[in-house]
Symmetry: C2
DNA sequence: GTGAAAGCGCTAACAT
DNA sequence: ATGTTAGCGCTTTCAC
């Protein structure tokens, strides 16, 4: 066995296939084949290569590999508003699925939807990622074109567009669940705390919500709608909820039930109510959307999105599409579920309900 | 201006510097120089190159770049227990700082400390990352050697080791703050809800905690210590806290104050108390550590770690070290802060305290 | 089954 | 200031 060749450098930093090849007495092609599970290699050669590689602590160089293969070994996730606990669970699902694949996960987070475009460009950089997951981002023309112009597989999470794979929750149905529940508790003067009006999920929830109210025969006056004033996080923030509730209370003619388009908003609203000295659910019923971890502790009634599954499925879909880029876009829609807690019904009732419908720990 | 050369492929997929060079009538070296901000290029050439690159939608290929430069364009963060809300805030700080740099962020999460080693290997793969951030991971010999053997810059977050840069909170001091506060509320029969005994942060908090009790002259009998039974998440979980509190109550001789080594544990403990029909703070005082977002809503007294700053500083430190790998390891220790809420003192008092010491929104 | 050789797209040292 | 050229470490034909 001859000594390591002239290519030898820092033994820890740069063991290359050349080093392995010369130490194992084979060509670099054989080494490469061994590391790519190529079938046409003799057992003898394979064993020899593996032994040497092990001894020298060889690791393939990821950039060299992806350059030669013309395929990146990471996927990118573009996530606006990581502050929203919603994304934490989704991210977990994503992580878990990706850990099983050959891909690593690049995370780009954005505080506003404008920042999303910047991060999207970073994520779509040539050779950067084998695929991109785009979270909760309305795909107006410019952005859709940008995504369409790339040959990279794209999967939309929590938003929908005909040209791309998507995984989302049935937000319209979620809105219906909320409306039905509030009506069932006896509420008649309702209010809707909206996120930014551009937000597709929020609009969908609104649609389902108002649809049920219409069907129930409530007139237009019985629903008040308050929009988030702050564009930050697209209105999905405690501050936005707090502020919206303040304005709602200030306007007089207090509603008896409020549906916020997200839990974070609802929590802000809850604080505004506490500050105003109002009790929940006695003075006002309140519910949110998402079922983030916090909501269980606070006892907030909400519509649960299967967040972890959302992340896992999205990752699954992306991996599938990377392997087969030419399939038709598929759209997966998950069902939301009502979770009744103490902010809409008397707590003793809520407790017994909770016992029947235990909180899922995903 | 001649047409694109034979190297021309998919106009969207693979515009290379060769395409730009021939279209702009310069050499590839000049194109490269323009894109690397090299000073010695004429304005004319620069403008011409930029114009063409813009028109053709050129983007440098990241893998090719990092291969040629011998430097990756991403940094990796290895994060155990992403479920713990603690990490969410740290991650935000990280993200914000990294967005300002040339580096993108690769996230590796692990559910247990064993998984950390697997993810660490992925993160340390040759050519993968320009640097690695390792979160909350005890660096026993094997792991420290593994990290020492790589030439990649490593920054420890929430743990300390002489060989590496680190950014952490003064956990011993945090433990002291907790003990002093509980003593001040009049508590005399104390209990400590520990995470896994291997956890360095938890041990440090314990050390500070017991130190103050000793100084105050409490005998050994007045402190009961319960360890997390479940190794998952290293004991930093609601389930662990719930279980530990159950065992504590079951053992009889109820303590009048409990310090949990993390907020998530404290929340679990809180549930166990509620289930047992015990009130807080009347029947028992309870406090945690971290000050995750949830704690404010629940009204949990706790010791706040500056999580966002932890993330930001760690990122800062890593970027610095990548630029200058030979500097001495630096250790930054941030100060924790007591945050008094309703689980240790009567709520009206807590409210007035809160007014004086408003919750920081980082 | 194996090796030689031609790239992958870029950077950087060396010329001029 | 600009071009030529030799890599970076790997994959992948194409011969044999």
């Amino acid at each position: 066995m001859q000594a390591l060749s002239g290519r030898f450098r820092n033994p820890l930093l740069g063991v290359t296939i050349y080093d392995i090849a010369s130490a194992a007495g084979v060509s670099i092609a054989t080494v490469s084949r061994v590391f790519n599970g190529h079938p046409r290699v003799s057992c003898a050669a394979r064993d020899q290569v593996m032994e040497v590689a092990d001894r020298l602590g060889y690791q393939p160089h990821v950039s060299a590999r992806s350059l030669a293969r013309r395929r990146a070994n990471v996927v990118a996730a573009v996530i606006p508003m990581l502050t929203n606990l919603f994304f934490v669970d989704v991210l977990r699902g994503l992580q878990d699925r990706m850990a099983e694949s050959e891909f690593d996960l690049l995370v780009f987070s954005a505080r506003t939807l404008d920042e999303v475009d910047v991060q999207l460009d970073r994520a779509l950089a040539r050779g950067r990622a084998a695929g991109v997951l785009v979270f909760s981002t309305p795909l107006a023309d410019a952005r859709a074109r940008r995504l369409g112009h790339t040959s990279q597989p794209v999967v939309l999470v929590d938003s929908v567009h005909p040209d791309f794979d998507s995984v989302s929750t049935d937000n319209v149905e979620g809105g219906r669940l909320a409306a039905r529940h509030l009506l069932e508790t006896g509420a008649r003067r309702l209010a809707l705390l909206m996120a930014h009006p551009d937000s597709i999920p929020a609009s969908d929830r609104k649609q389902g919500f108002t649809e049920v109210l219409d069907t129930a025969g409530l007139d237009a006056d019985s629903l008040r709608i308050v929009h988030a004033s702050d564009p930050l996080h697209h209105g999905y923030s405690e501050a936005a909820g707090y502020d919206a509730m303040k304005r709602l209370l200030h306007a007089g003619d207090r509603p008896d039930a409020v549906f916020a388009t997200s839990d974070v908003q609802a929590l802000g609203a809850l604080e505004a109510l506490a500050t105003a000295g109002l009790g929940v659910p006695d003075d006002m019923r309140l519910m949110g959307f998402d079922d983030i971890m916090l909501s269980r502790h606070v006892g907030l009634t909400t519509v649960r999105q299967p967040m972890y599954e959302l992340g896992r499925l999205a990752a699954e879909r992306l991996v599938t599409r990377i392997d087969d880029p030419d399939r038709e876009p598929a759209h997966t829609v998950l069902s939301p579920r009502l979770v009744v807690r103490g902010t809409t019904v008397d707590t003793t009732v809520a407790r017994s309900l909770r016992r029947i419908q235990p909180v899922a720990v995903s």
